[in-house]
Every structure is written in C-alpha cells, then in structure tokens.
C-alpha cells in the first residue's frame, strides 16, 4: 500500500535544496543592506545591486591593518577625489573613511538607475584594484 507521506519527500528535498542555494553564495540581488568587506586592499563583494529610491545600508568592514576609503558616486565625483587632498571623510553618506580594523555603517539612497563606482582614493589604492560598482535598478 502506498504510504501517503511518500509524496512529501520530493517537496522536502526541493525545499531543502532551495534553502541551501540561498545560503551558498547566492548571486547578488537588490537589497537594502549590504556588507562590504575590505581585505588585502580589495572590496568583497566588488559588485552590489540596489533599487533606486530606497535607502540602502552599507556596512563597511575594514579587516586590513591600514586605513581605507569607500567613496561612491559618478565619474565626476571620482575625478574630483583623484585630485583631492581630504585626509578624512565622515560627513557625507557617500564618502566614508574606515580606519584599520574598524567597521563603519552608512545609508545611501540612489535616485536614478545606473552604475556608480565605489573606490578608495588613498594614494595607489585605486590602481591596486580597490574599485567596485553599485548597480542601481528600477
């Protein structure tokens, strides 16, 4: 006689699999909270997707023994910072200095869809690869 709960087996297995997929480094998707880790002078992840018009919390964890910056914006913003001399950033949500081994949190809202680079503009850091991108979608 067929046991009635046999039919639940595939459902349980499928559900478990889907949960694990969610845990295992799922692809980036829009969200309102993102943690970006800085390790060996690299942003991890280097690509983040958010929705336009919504406040997004960025938790910036610096695991390096040296200071870094997280400055996000369009190319004009980065052009200005490449020539800038500001030693510290802590007044604008899109411009954050993260001292060694510290974590900073900032909330940013992107009004328009598009791609906005985040870069560390300390001398030599961008050339070394400290660059990522926030993709803003509708």
């Amino acid at each position: 006689m067929r046991r009635w709960y046999y039919g639940l087996i595939p459902l349980v297995l499928l559900a478990t699999g889907l949960v694990l997929v969610g845990w295992s480094g799922s692809p980036d998707r829009p969200g309102d909270h993102h943690t970006i880790t800085i390790h060996f002078s690299r942003f991890e992840p280097a690509e983040v997707t958010v929705r336009a018009g919504q406040p997004v919390t960025f938790e910036l964890r610096n695991e390096d023994p040296i200071e870094h910056e997280w400055l996000v914006g369009d190319e004009l913003v980065h052009w200005a910072h490449r020539l800038g001399t500001e030693p510290y950033h802590d007044e604008i949500p899109t411009e954050v200095t993260i001292p060694a081994f510290e974590t900073k949190t900032t909330v940013v809202s992107f009004d328009k869809p598009g791609e906005y680079a985040f870069i560390c503009h300390l001398p030599g850091h961008e050339a070394y690869g400290m660059r990522g991108v926030v993709t803003v979608v509708e």
Partner: protein
C-alpha cells in the same frame, strides 16, 4: 655535524626616489609613486648556522624620515655597521665595471603590539627589529607615522606566516645632512641572524610598486657548497654567476671591517633580478646542505589554503544541487508509481 653553509641573501632595499615628496610623514614603502625602488645589492651568507646579511642604505637627499620594512628569517643577534666595501668588492668580482647601487630602507623604533627586540643607530640610520604578526607590525608602522602601500597587508601577511621578525630601517634625512653625508652615500649594515632556515626575501622588493614597475636587484649568495635554489633561475631571475669563490675574493672580504667570519672556502652565486613587480610572488629558498631540497614553504610557494567561506559555498552549493536533483528524481519516481 657541521652546519652547511649556504648562504645568502638578498634583500631588498628600497631606494626612495624622491624623499622630498614623502614630506614630514615618512613614507614606509611608497604608496603614491613618490618612492621608487632602485637596484639593490645585498650579500647574505650562511655559515655554521648563522646567516649574515650585508646591505647598504643610500642617502638620496632631502629631509624628514623615510624607509622600509624587511622580513627576516630569524631574530638577529647583532646589527652593526657593515664592512666599508664588501658589496663593492662582490660586484667587482662578478661585474668588471663596478656600478654600485644599494638603497635605503625604512622603519622606526618602539612598539605597541609589535615587540621591539633590538634598536640600533648606525650613522643617520635608525634600525629596529620587530617581532609580531603582519597586523601588529603594520599597526606599529602606521602609529609611527608611516603610510603603508595598499599591497602591504597581503605582503606582510605573506611573510608573517613564516617568520614574525621584521627589520625596520629609518633614514633620518636631517641627521644625514648634519653629518655631511652626500647624496648617494651609502650606509652599510651587517645583520647577523642565527637560523636553521635561511631564505632570501624577494617578494618584498615589489612592495609599493605598481604591477608593471620593474624590480631590479643583485643577490649574492655565499655558501659552503653549490646551492640548490627554489625557484630555479627563470625569466626575471637570471643566474649570472655560479663558481667557487676565488681565494682573493674571500681574503679581500675577510679583511673588511666586521667580515672576519668569511670562511676559507665558499661557493659564490649571483642572481640578477629584473622582473615586473606583479611577477615577484615568491622568495628564494636556498639549500646548500647537499640535500638539494630547498623548502617550498621558505620560497613562499606553498599552496594557499582555500578560503573557508568559498569552501563552504562550494560544499553547500554541491549539497543543494544534489538535493534538488534527488528531489526531482524522487518526484518522478513517486509520480510514476502512483
């Protein structure tokens, strides 16, 4: 049994191209391109369980302080002024037209988390030997006013895993000027390091450089017998001399100040480094014991352990895929039976 000599050494010193650009806050390993490593020359010899590093720091003018960090295979028992012309004599031995270029390092003294093991002032050069992990040494340097380049965290970690000993050398430009030192004058330093595992730090030569920048250095090895090297000479690291050291060379070296340790016989090897900074991902392991087994670990060639997070992702991803597949299969089977 008598310890095989091997030797050598190497090092890296950094030549700070434009110390003036470093400003008041000393630049530990240039992070903005203002500091450029020039060609360096170093001798490291290994005899009776003691490694001898002889290198020179060149005064390039300007004021303020500047310098660099050097990883060491062990705790030095002594740091002193080196022989006056040892490096020049080596160059004369292998390269007839002597063109001496050694360069400056940097560092500073005192410790917070990093432990200061030794502090020595040699002319206008302040040398500090530190013991600590990459993080504490980097923190110490930062707290002493130096700005580390973006590759420093990874490079220091690369070394700290094998040896927690670093040498920081600070060139006091003001003091050098007061002493009447001229641009180009070198300060030879002799570091004596008891160790059973000599190796030559090469990767550090690329510290603070851009990926395409060139790393140029001459490394002299003086060992009891012909050494086995890892990695073997390759593109960017040419073996330009490998012969028994001449008696005249050894006699000359032995007659220089503080060089009485030079053995009666030895094998002289010279390696010329000329590679892109991005290619300098290794150190030089030296085995002159006759075993021909230079350490992969000492050369920095051990495969890095997989990142745990990535590994977990792979495991969970694999399990998930298996579960999904099994779920679909089971569903099909149950359906077929029903």
């Amino acid at each position: 049994m008598r310890r095989l000599m091997t030797a050598v050494l190497a090092l890296m010193l950094a030549t700070f191209g434009s110390p003036q650009l470093v400003d008041a806050c000393a630049g530990l390993i240039g992070s903005n391109g203002a500091v450029n490593l020039g060609r360096t020359t170093t001798l490291a010899a290994y005899h009776n369980g003691v490694e001898h590093y002889v290198t020179s720091f060149e005064f390039l003018g300007g004021g303020g302080e500047f310098g660099t960090l050097i990883p060491l295979p062990g705790v030095p028992s002594n740091v002193e002024r080196g022989g006056a012309w040892t490096l020049q004599r080596l160059i004369l031995e292998t390269d007839p037209p002597p063109v001496f270029r050694a360069e400056a390092l940097a560092g500073a003294a005192s410790a917070d988390e990093a432990e200061v093991l030794l502090e020595v002032r040699i002319d206008a050069l302040d040398v500090t030997v530190l013991k600590g992990g990459a993080e504490s040494v980097a923190a110490w340097a930062t707290e002493h006013g130096f700005r580390l380049s973006p590759d420093a965290p990874e490079v220091l970690d690369f070394y700290a895993e094998r040896s927690p000993i670093f040498l920081a050398a600070i060139f006091d430009g003001d003091a050098a000027a007061e002493r009447g030192q001229q641009v180009g004058d070198g300060t030879p330093v002799h570091i004596t390091i008891p160790t059973t595992n000599p190796w030559v730090p090469l990767r550090i030569l690329g510290l603070g450089k851009q990926a395409d920048d060139r790393v140029e250095a001459d490394v002299y090895l003086l060992t009891d017998r012909r050494p086995s090297l890892l990695p073997a000479p390759r593109e960017g690291m040419a073996l330009t001399h490998s012969e028994p050291a001449t008696r005249s060379l050894l006699d000359d070296l032995r007659s220089d100040e503080g060089m009485e340790w030079i053995p009666a016989s030895a094998w002289l090897t010279k390696l010329s480094i000329d590679a892109a900074a991005s290619d300098m991902t290794y150190d030089l392991a030296v085995d002159a014991s006759g075993q021909n087994q230079p350490s992969r670990r000492a050369a920095g060639l051990e495969v890095a352990s997989a990142d745990q997070d990535d590994l977990l992702d792979w495991i969970l991803g694999g399990i998930a895929a298996s579960m999904l597949g099994l779920g679909v299969f089971t569903g099909l089977v149950v359906r077929k039976r029903s």
